[in-house]
Subunit: 304 residues, 2 copies
């Protein structure tokens, strides 16, 4: 049951992080968070006609006036999303006043476009908002930003612009190998063997050409030596992150590094980089997303 | 309905290739195949109590006398199989008279043990039988045998013994990435772009440390350049096989190579090796399996 109308949260504007699997909303007054709401109505579960309803359901408990500004980022702007927000080409600032308005709703919804790179071909949607948030909070910052996740991004930032970026499927590979491959029998549980992780990162970085030969050995070590699942799981993660660091070395070597990620994943990346003598600043991804959405809202308000 | 008893196939012995997903049987008279039978009653679908029934169902149409010898290879001999056939340690011949008898059946079932390697830890079950079959048909052959599949094996053979081997998850990775990852949107269909395959093999072998950076570009190229799925699919396969060849180079460089595999996969491996100036003999995996099971049966008959 909803609260009485007078008790309800009444936002000036709404911030949305609308990805493939999840939808997260913030009821905002200026830069202040009045309330948050989450749902599993991600792009992957919706047809184009379903977005307006999914949003209405998400904010059902709030008192939202018609025409309230809504700023959204993520896969909601993809070709299969609510409304395609065409990619902007790098080099460019992570954010511009160029947002895509959505028409089939009584709210004033705008979607932040993703970024594309021609050579090598690459795309991002959502990360540009986190980068803009990080730069809004760290004025004048130059260096390389790592955004670990299902598809980890390494992004070169200079003078407020995204210069180049590169995507790695490390998170998705870990999920597939640990849940759907023969390795699933050997890596269950929540434990963690830091030494096994460090060793695997080192192995992958020292001999990256051997990676393909090392994955099955996780299963064989379990069968022949009863290797504990904590060790196997940390080793799998270390091999994959190590392979990513081997490939992304031209990005991170000898420069400022910031990691924008969820707590555990960001920590693993930070530790892996540390074993290579590279220090990184870690910032919370959700906080950066909200900072970026807030920056976009302010820009939109100034533009309107 | 079964044929009249007098019309039924009456084998001297039965050969079984019993893997994780499939069960394949041959009704044999000496070295002659009287009939074949297939079912999906693989190890993955059975409890220990279910094997005897699965076998009875498979051979239901044949006239099989109690006590008929049955020789089986594959995951049927694993810890989760019908009866564990403990691994033999390399270096050793791919086959010995040491087989594991099964008790809960009226037939005289024997399981061929797999092989294990202590350092680096590795195991095989089923491939040892194909190797034995290949050596039975190619007396005195020395070199390296590649057995491509879900878990591809590279096996060093000398003077009739398996000296060492290494397993690669290339087939399983291709299946997971092409069916369950974000790349699935870009690699559908049956077509094949040989040039894209060759280029990808070359890229992976020249810069194996870059592999992690190349996978997502398959998706990005589709999104930004409408790369055809045939090209993307061949490229994914080429990158993974190329990564395997980079890691297995000490095995295949400058030696005799035989590929025992199913037609299409074996051809891809052969082509990839050819681009590196390495020629390989290709032999059909199912034929080698039967040759190996036949060799095991002859050995068993001599021993009894």
């Amino acid at each position: 049951m909803n609260a009485a109308l007078s008790d309800r949260v009444a936002p000036d504007w709404i911030a949305l992080d609308w990805g493939t699997s999840n939808l997260r909303g913030w009821a905002m007054r200026g830069g202040e968070v009045l309330a948050t709401a989450n749902s599993t109505a991600g792009m992957g579960t919706l047809t184009r006609a379903g977005y307006a309803d999914a949003l209405a359901t998400l904010i059902d408990g709030w008192h939202v006036a018609p025409g309230t500004p809504v700023v959204a980022c993520g896969m909601v702007g993809s070709r299969q999303g609510w409304c395609e927000a065409p990619y902007r080409a790098v080099p460019c600032t992570p954010m511009s006043s160029q947002m895509t308005p959505v028409n089939d709703t009584a709210l004033n919804v705008h979607i932040i476009p993703g970024l594309r790179q021609v050579t090598p071909a690459d795309v991002m949607r959502g990360e540009e908002t986190q980068i803009a948030g990080f730069l809004a909070l760290n004025d004048g910052w130059d260096g390389v930003i790592c955004l670990p996740g299902t598809h980890t991004k390494w992004v070169q930032v200079s003078a407020g612009e995204v210069i180049s970026f590169q995507t790695y499927m490390t998170g998705e590979m870990f999920a597939l190998l640990s849940q759907a491959s023969v390795l699933r029998h050997s890596v269950q549980g929540d434990g963690w063997d830091s030494q096994a992780f460090d060793n695997a990162v080192e192995e992958a970085l020292t001999k990256p050409e051997k990676l393909a030969a090392r994955l099955f050995s996780i299963r064989a070590s379990d069968l022949l030596e009863n290797t504990p699942p904590d060790t196997s799981r940390a080793r799998l993660s270390g091999l994959l992150i190590g392979a990513e660091l081997a490939a992304s070395k031209p990005y991170w070597l000898g420069t400022n590094i910031a990691i924008l990620g969820a707590a555990e994943t960001a920590r693993h990346y930070g530790r892996a980089l540390q074993t290579q003598g590279a220090a990184a600043t870690i910032a919370d991804a959700a906080r950066m997303t909200l900072a970026g959405l807030t920056a976009a809202y302010r820009q939109m308000k100034d533009t309107i």
